[in-house]
């Protein structure tokens, strides 16, 4: 069977790379956390990374908007159209076709009906974390996308279940892959709304406390309205963290960094799960 050899979560935000001169002290602290995560990820020697991420209405529009989708392409753009804005050179990350297709099939058999895409283009959701965590661009990724930006959204409880399903899939794999789980998004941020730029460090720290203490269920019990009130519309991306936690119930985490960065419009945290 395959083995989960690493699991982590981090915020993503376009301004981390788009405005590198902003908030230099906080940027330094946050990127030091990602550097530690990169070191640990490399030491875990994964064969594939399942990335729980979300679209920002660049792949999916209102004519076709899946709640969940798995990317099974041989390559994933990260970034392409947003390269100039993100100040990250356009590149393609390798996919894991067989793993992705097997995950899709297992989901359908288990009543977890994921949508599927053979071609995906990522923005800060994948591009920014990968820029710092997987700069070599050689580690295959399987993106699992959740609709976090166009309500109505899947419930956090469903994201927890998604993580549990992925865990069972990995445990049942006939191939002995070493699998890493990485969730990106959040923590609190208000984007494109009248109070754009607001951050709620108190809520962010509560979220990180739950991760640290192995209380992922507390995050899964949040409602859309809870998150919208305390974490903002951008906080809905916490579903990607919840999916990782759902794969590892009871496992405690280590908070690697937290910075509420006004210039990035985001409460930025990163955590490593203590497997």
């Amino acid at each position: 069977m395959a083995t989960i050899v690493a699991a982590a979560m981090t915020s993503h935000a376009p301004n981390i790379t788009a405005t590198p001169a902003a908030a230099p002290e906080q940027r330094g602290h946050f990127l030091a956390g990602l550097a530690e995560m990169r070191k640990r990820l490399a030491a875990a020697r994964p064969d594939v990374v399942v990335m729980f991420v979300n679209d920002h209405v660049q792949n999916f529009f209102y004519d076709n908007l899946p709640a969940f989708c798995v990317g099974v392409g041989a390559r994933h753009w990260a970034p392409r159209g947003a390269a100039d804005f993100l100040k990250i050179p356009s590149r393609q990350l390798p996919g894991a076709v067989d793993f992705g297709k097997a995950l899709l099939k297992a989901g359908l058999d288990a009543g977890f009906d994921l949508a599927v895409s053979h071609e995906l283009e990522f923005w800060d959701d994948v591009s920014v974390p990968a820029h710092f965590l997987m700069p070599e661009g050689t580690l295959p990724i399987v993106p699992v996308l959740t609709n976090c930006v166009a309500p109505p959204l899947p419930t956090p409880q469903r994201s927890w279940q998604l993580g549990g399903f992925v865990r069972r899939f990995i445990d049942a794999r006939p191939v002995g892959e070493r699998v890493a789980l990485l969730g990106t998004g959040g923590i609190s941020h208000w984007i494109g709304v009248p109070n754009t730029g607001h951050i709620n460090p108190e809520w962010d720290r509560w979220v990180l406390d739950q991760v640290r203490d192995g209380h992922g269920e507390a995050l899964a019990e949040l409602s859309f309205d809870d998150i919208e009130r305390d974490g903002g519309n951008g906080g809905q991306e916490i579903r990607n963290w919840i999916a990782v936690l759902g794969a590892l119930p009871g496992v405690k985490g280590e908070v690697l960094t937290y910075e509420p960065v006004k210039e990035w419009l985001t409460g930025c945290g990163a955590a490593w799960m203590q497997l």
Binding site: H56, V57, G81, A82, D84, F85, V149, A150, I191, G192, V193, P194, T196, G197, N233, K262, E263, L265
Partner: protein, 51 residues
């Protein structure tokens, strides 16, 4: 990535007068109140945000 929107670009769409006015004016609050997706508001009118 587009960062503005003109009247000619929305001419063919089924929009109310209020919606057209909000788009033409870049009235972010009105666009949000009228139900536009915040991520699209942010993307199209990025330069109009103070932040």
């Amino acid at each position: 990535m587009i960062e503005s929107i003109g009247a000619d670009e929305v001419a063919g769409y089924d929009l109310s007068a209020e919606e057209r006015a909000a788009l033409a004016d870049g009235d972010l609050d009105a666009l949000f109140r009228l139900g536009a997706n915040p991520y699209l508001i942010r993307r199209v009118f990025r330069r109009r945000f103070a932040l």
